[in-house]
């Protein structure tokens, strides 16, 4: 899809026999951002999973320009590996043109994890694991970031780091779709309110 990063056209999501949202349409341009808001259970996570291609929409079309990077509540890092190695595994799969080690080191630095590079993932705290998941997204060099509650469990310093990372990604032409119930400063983002009608 030329120009845009991600577009929903008349997407309907049905989970367990309940319609979470119907006829949802929006488009995110390169450099743009969409902020998905709504009460618990309104379908924020489902929207992100549909955008990631993990769920099939009940109706409608999802168009996107690959590659995408996703973070959900799961960090998806092998618990027995040192943090840097666990991240390098994904960087290798992402097959980015950049130097993998440098990309991972830079991503670790972004979220203040450089000192924990050699610590096994299973020893990390909840917040640290969360930041590690975000570092995986940053290191992926993907066009579209799909972030499901990325600020959960983060301290205020990390939230600021996340906001800066998002701003930098958009400046470089990347797009961000973000589902959150926490206040996050994402300037010039279109808001998608679920469960309002």
């Amino acid at each position: 899809m030329p120009g845009g990063a991600l577009a929903f056209r008349d997407v309907t999501c049905v989970r367990g026999g309940r319609t979470l949202f119907a006829g949802l349409s929006f488009a995110v341009e390169k450099g743009g951002a969409a902020l998905v808001r709504g009460a618990n259970g309104a379908g924020k996570s489902s929207l992100i999973r549909i955008a990631a291609g993990l769920l099939k929409p009940y109706e409608g079309i999802v168009a996107y320009t690959p590659p995408r990077a996703l973070i959900t509540e799961d960090a998806a890092l092998d618990p027995e590996l040192p943090l840097a190695r666990a991240l390098r595994f994904w960087a290798r799969l992402d097959d980015s043109e950049r130097d993998r080690d440098a990309a991972v080191a830079a991503a670790l630095d972004t979220f203040g994890l450089a000192e924990l590079a050699e610590v096994p993932v299973r020893l990390l705290s909840t917040g640290q694991r969360r930041r590690a998941g975000l570092a995986r997204v940053v290191a992926a060099d993907a066009l579209t970031w799909l972030l499901d509650e990325p600020a959960n469990g983060l301290d205020s310093v990390s939230v600021e780091a996340l906001e800066r990372a998002i701003a930098r990604h958009r400046k470089a032409g990347g797009a961000v779709v973000l589902a959150t119930h926490l206040p996050l400063a994402v300037p010039r983002a279109q808001e998608i309110l679920l469960g309002a009608g």
């Binding site: 990631a52 291609g53 993990l54 769920l55 690959p66 590659p67 995408r68 990077a69 996703l70 959900t72 509540e73 799961d74 960090a75 998806a76 890092l77 092998d78 618990p79 027995e80 590996l81 595994f89 994904w90 290798r92 799969l93 992402d94 097959d95 799909l146």
Partner: protein, 214 residues
């Protein structure tokens, strides 16, 4: 393709770091060693049942790693991440199968030599056992991955896995043990069963992982 190999390497690494390589083999040897205690020191009898004992032990040992093959990856979002990167579920399952086989079969064949010696099987029987295991173990690995995907997320998955996997493994057992008695065509039938499992398991496991996502 490089993505596939990366996944295979990851399976091997995880099996190694979690003791998944050594434990099933130790279990296999232990089960095989139980039989002489149960049957008594009649060496002629032990030599006659050696092949069957080794195959039955191999089947039980193949059950051991089933719980760690798919469920942890579904739980911690690894499968999700692979799918977002455009990898097909069947490809992921196939990589798991290859990785599992590489970690399981060579050591099993090595340990079978030890078990055969302990049970007093002769050299000709040992050769037939090893050939049978070489042909049958890919089927065993395929069945393990398919079972792991089907039972992932269930409570008491380990027990259910046994109920799912062992009946399906009976053809492998029949033709594997049959090939030791030099029954005509047993090896070919063993190969056919193994091939069927290897060809079908990635799709079964892939579909199970897809359904688990929904």
């Amino acid at each position: 393709m490089s993505g596939f190999l990366t996944l295979v390497a990851r399976e091997l690494r995880r099996a190694w770091m979690q003791g998944g390589l050594v434990l099933p083999i130790a279990f296999f040897l232990l089960v095989a060693i139980l039989f002489p205690f149960a049957l008594g020191p009649d060496s002629a009898l032990l030599a006659r049942v050696a092949g069957g004992v080794i195959w039955a032990s191999a089947l039980l040992a193949a059950l051991l790693p089933v719980e760690r093959l798919v469920a942890p990856d579904l739980e911690n979002g690894t499968i999700d991440q692979l799918v977002v990167r455009g990898m097909a579920d069947a490809t992921i399952a196939a990589a798991k199968m290859v990785g599992h086989w590489l970690g399981f079969a060579p050591l099993l064949m090595l340990a079978s030599g030890i078990a055969a010696a302990l049970l007093g099987a002769d050299g000709a029987a040992l050769v037939r056992i090893e050939i049978g295991l070489l042909i049958g173990s890919p089927g065993l690995a395929a069945l393990g991955v398919a079972t792991a995907a089907l039972t992932a997320g269930l409570r008491g998955a380990g027990a259910v896995a046994g109920l799912v996997m062992l009946p399906l493994a009976i053809p492998l057992l029949i033709f594997g043990a049959g090939s030791i008695a030099a029954a005509p065509g047993a090896l070919k039938l063993l190969g056919a069963v193994s091939l069927l499992l290897v060809a079908g398991a990635p799709f079964v496991a892939g579909l199970a992982m897809k359904l688990a996502r929904d």
